[in-house]
Structures are given as structure tokens and as C-alpha cells.
């Protein structure tokens, strides 16, 4: 119950360390005991108006998605809808980190507006983690813990899998093959 109270009062994910720290040293339970109690809480909440989940920065009590139709009606404002440009940029940073702005532009085929990078940084979803040692020393971007928390993820490995890439040679070979097959009918098949 102490854990429940503390998690509710915190209103943010709490790491196991922070949960342990709420106990005075003399009464501090074992890590494993706390972990076990959390697992029990997780089970207890089945079918309730809240659930306990583990995200990147720790344990969080949250209202399950099941209730979002009602909860959303609480606020006039609809949850922020993010543009495709922003989501694509975020996806590139998430899957390809660390990545430079130039590399994002290269894949998307368009220049990247500064406002997107600014929004992502303001939301604390991405951060500069270094610079690539090439002329101009472009900043290298990576996602943050807050990004994982926001998307209900424990780690990057929980991101939906990315479709398998095909390398240029394979593409070339397939193209040749298809063109060869297509040739008997038309002289310039697609061209």
C-alpha cells in the first residue's frame, strides 16, 4: 500500500531505486521484496481503473487505454496529433540513432524543417548526444528515456520491428530478373 500511495502521489514513473529510497534506511526492504510487491500490485489491478506498468524510467500507474473514450471527454482539447513529417523524423531517429539531420533528410528526400526538431527536443523526446567527426561536425540525435516512457516502452527493442531492408545488389538482381521475364511480351516493358 505504501508503494501504491507513493506511485500515485508521484504521478511519474519511479525507478526501483527511488521506490526503495522512500523507506528510511533502517526499514528499507530488499529489492526483491519490492519487486515482488510490484508484481503483486500488477496482478491486483487486473480489471481495475488503473494498471501498473514498467517503462524505461521505472514503474508507472496509469489508466489503461480501455478507458480513453471516457477520459478523453474530460478535456475539451484533443490530444496532440503529430504530423507525418514529425512522426517519420522521430521514427528515423528512433530506429537509426545516432543519426544526423543530413541523414534524416537523405532518407526522407526532403529538407527537414527546424520546427520539427525543435518540437521533438522541447517534448524531450530527442537529444543531441554528440557530433559526427566530419566537416561541419553535425549533431547526432538520439531518443530519450522520456520518449520511451511516453510511448509505453521499456526499451528501444520494444519498438515495432522495422521492415527488412534490401540492399542495392539484391534490388538490382531482382529488377534484372523481372525485366528479363517481362521482355518476351513487350520490347520495352515498363519503360
Amino acid at each position: 500500500m505504501i508503494l501504491e500511495a507513493v506511485l500515485l502521489a508521484a504521478g511519474e514513473p519511479l525507478s526501483l531505486e527511488r521506490l526503495l529510497d522512500v523507506f528510511p534506511e533502517s526499514e528499507r526492504p530488499e529489492r526483491d521484496a519490492v519487486r515482488k510487491a510490484l508484481l503483486e500490485l500488477m496482478r491486483d489491478y487486473t480489471g481495475r481503473g488503473m494498471e501498473l506498468i514498467e517503462v524505461a524510467s521505472g514503474f508507472r500507474l496509469q489508466v489503461p487505454g480501455l478507458y480513453s473514450p471516457w477520459v478523453s471527454r474530460l478535456w475539451e482539447e484533443r490530444a496532440a496529433h503529430y504530423s507525418r513529417a514529425l512522426l517519420e523524423t522521430l521514427a528515423l531517429i528512433a530506429y537509426r540513432q545516432p543519426i544526423t539531420r543530413g541523414e534524416i533528410e537523405e532518407v526522407r528526400g526532403v529538407s527537414l524543417s527546424s520546427s520539427i526538431m525543435k518540437t521533438l527536443q522541447e517534448r524531450d523526446w530527442i537529444k543531441v548526444i554528440g557530433h559526427r567527426e566530419v566537416p561541419g561536425r553535425p549533431a547526432l540525435y538520439a531518443t530519450t528515456r522520456a520518449f520511451l516512457d511516453y510511448f509505453n516502452l521499456k526499451s528501444l527493442s520494444e519498438l515495432p520491428p522495422l521492415a527488412a531492408p534490401r540492399d542495392l545488389d539484391a534490388i538490382g538482381a531482382t529488377l534484372e530478373q523481372r525485366t528479363a521475364q517481362a521482355r518476351p511480351q513487350t520490347e520495352f516493358p515498363d519503360v
Partner: protein, 262 residues
């Protein structure tokens, strides 16, 4: 790979989602701008054109796609939309691929040279992967949209500030520094003095009252022994020297009284 699948509406016109554009390319003029705005650049536009025809990226009909692409560009220009340089660059690239495919290739070059479409296909596929990833990410349960942090008002907060710990070594370290500095600048000459005397000075001062006199003898504690008495005596002398004490003796051999200087 079936690229068509479920594509999200590319634009909304009058509240109606436009999943695809009419085949004859007729678009209400006021909607065109909205529609074109929906493209995230030339790759996105190309992917749209490919999907619209239900073609596999690998079967991309360069001539036809190039023609359609140019039509859009013309439309955009007719609308006096400012065309991003990337769109024009892509147009040039498409034209180049087309011409290379039309040219007969020498037999020996064929082995080394990749299909001219390969790089375009690679880029289209690469972009498509991340388009899909963005969609998948958008579908993840998201805080503030799908799930909400559960919270309850915290109880009355007792703000507790645990003061930082200090070690004696820290203290000595600090002293060493300040002394070194003081010596370096010759600001102050710190003379050596028995600490016990300085401590006793504090104790004596505390003990004394500013209004009432305290008997001199009351400051001494025989149980402290000879050494203690000496320390107290030295402390009193030092306090007198620093003019912190007032010493009163009404007549010779009468009891000595002390009081703090006001």
C-alpha cells in the same frame, strides 16, 4: 510486398478524407493546395503514385510514373505553388533513369552496371520502411492520448531537506585552502593558539551576562584540574584583551566580577 495495403487518407477536403485522387486528376482548385501539402516530398509523392496503381515497387514503370510525376509538377506550378527544389531534382533524376533505360547498353557494361532504377527503388523502399515505422509508432499506446498517468493528490507535504554531509576531512581541507590563500596574500597572520583557549573563550562569553556581573570564581571548575583552570584564565585574559569583557573589582582583594561588554 503489396505496397497498397491500407493507406491513410492523404488529405481531407471538407471533412471528407481523400484516400486517393480521382484517376482523371481533377481536383477542385481550392483542394489542390491542401492535397499537395499532404506530400512529404518527392519520394512520398512517388510512393503515392505507385501505390495508387497497385504496383510493386520492384515493377516500377519508370516512363509512366515519370509522366504522372511531371503532371503533378505542372499542376503545382500552375497553382503557383512554390516548388521545393527536391521535387525538381527528382524530376531530373527520373528523366535520367528513363533515358538510360532507353539506351541500348553495351553487353560488357551490363554485367557491372546496375539497373538504373535500382538506386531509386532502394530509396523508395528505404523511405517506405520508415513511413511504415512512423505509422506503427503512431499506433503505439501513447501517453495523454491512449493511456493516462494515474495520480492522486499527495498528502500534505512535509518538506524535508536532508542537509548535506560534511566530513572532518572536508573541514580541514577547507581550512588548509583558506590558510594557504591568506598566507599567500599576506592578508592576515594567523597565530597559533591553543584551541582549548578559544573554545573556553566562547564558553565564558556565553556564560556571562551583559547586565549582571558574574563572580570571577564561578567560571572555574576545580574538577577540571589545574590545566582547566589555566585554560579558563587564559581565555578570560584573551577576552579582556579583545575588549569583550569588563572586569570589576570594587576594592582591593574584594571578589572580582565579570560582565560582557555591551
Amino acid at each position: 510486398m503489396n505496397a497498397v495495403a491500407d493507406i491513410s487518407p492523404v488529405a481531407k477536403v471538407g471533412g471528407q478524407p481523400w484516400a486517393r485522387i480521382p484517376q482523371d486528376l481533377y481536383i477542385p482548385p481550392d483542394a489542390l493546395e491542401v492535397f499537395l501539402d499532404a506530400f512529404e516530398g518527392p519520394l512520398d509523392l512517388l510512393l503515392y503514385l505507385i501505390r495508387r496503381q497497385n504496383i510493386n515497387i520492384l515493377d516500377i514503370p519508370i516512363a509512366e510514373i515519370t509522366r504522372q510525376y511531371m503532371e503533378y509538377l505542372t499542376l503545382m506550378q500552375a497553382m503557383r505553388l512554390e516548388l521545393a527544389a527536391e521535387y525538381l531534382l527528382m524530376a531530373a533524376w527520373l528523366a535520367e533513369i528513363k533515358s538510360r533505360l532507353l539506351l541500348p547498353r553495351p553487353a560488357q557494361a551490363e554485367a557491372e552496371e546496375l539497373d538504373p532504377r535500382a538506386e531509386l527503388v532502394r530509396r523508395l523502399q528505404e523511405y517506405e520502411r520508415f513511413q511504415q515505422a512512423a505509422l506503427a509508432m503512431d499506433a503505439l499506446p501513447r501517453l495523454e492520448r491512449d493511456v493516462f498517468t494515474a495520480s492522486a493528490a499527495p498528502p500534505e507535504r512535509q518538506i524535508q531537506r536532508e542537509p548535506p554531509p560534511v566530513s572532518l576531512a572536508d573541514l580541514l581541507d577547507a581550512l588548509r585552502e583558506v590558510m594557504t590563500r591568506a598566507e599567500l596574500f599576506g592578508r592576515h597572520h594567523i597565530q597559533q593558539e591553543a584551541l582549548s583557549v578559544r573554545e573556553r573563550m566562547s564558553q565564558v562569553l556565553e556564560r556571562l551576562d551583559a547586565l549582571q556581573f558574574t563572580p570571577f570564581t564561578a567560571l572555574f571548575h576545580p574538577e577540571e584540574g589545574r590545566r582547566g583552570v589555566v585554560v579558563t584564565f587564559m581565555a578570560v585574559l584573551e577576552l579582556l584583551r579583545e575588549a569583550l569583557l569588563e572586569l570589576v573589582q570594587v576594592e582591593p582583594f574584594a571578589p572580582i566580577h565579570l560582565r560582557r561588554r555591551i
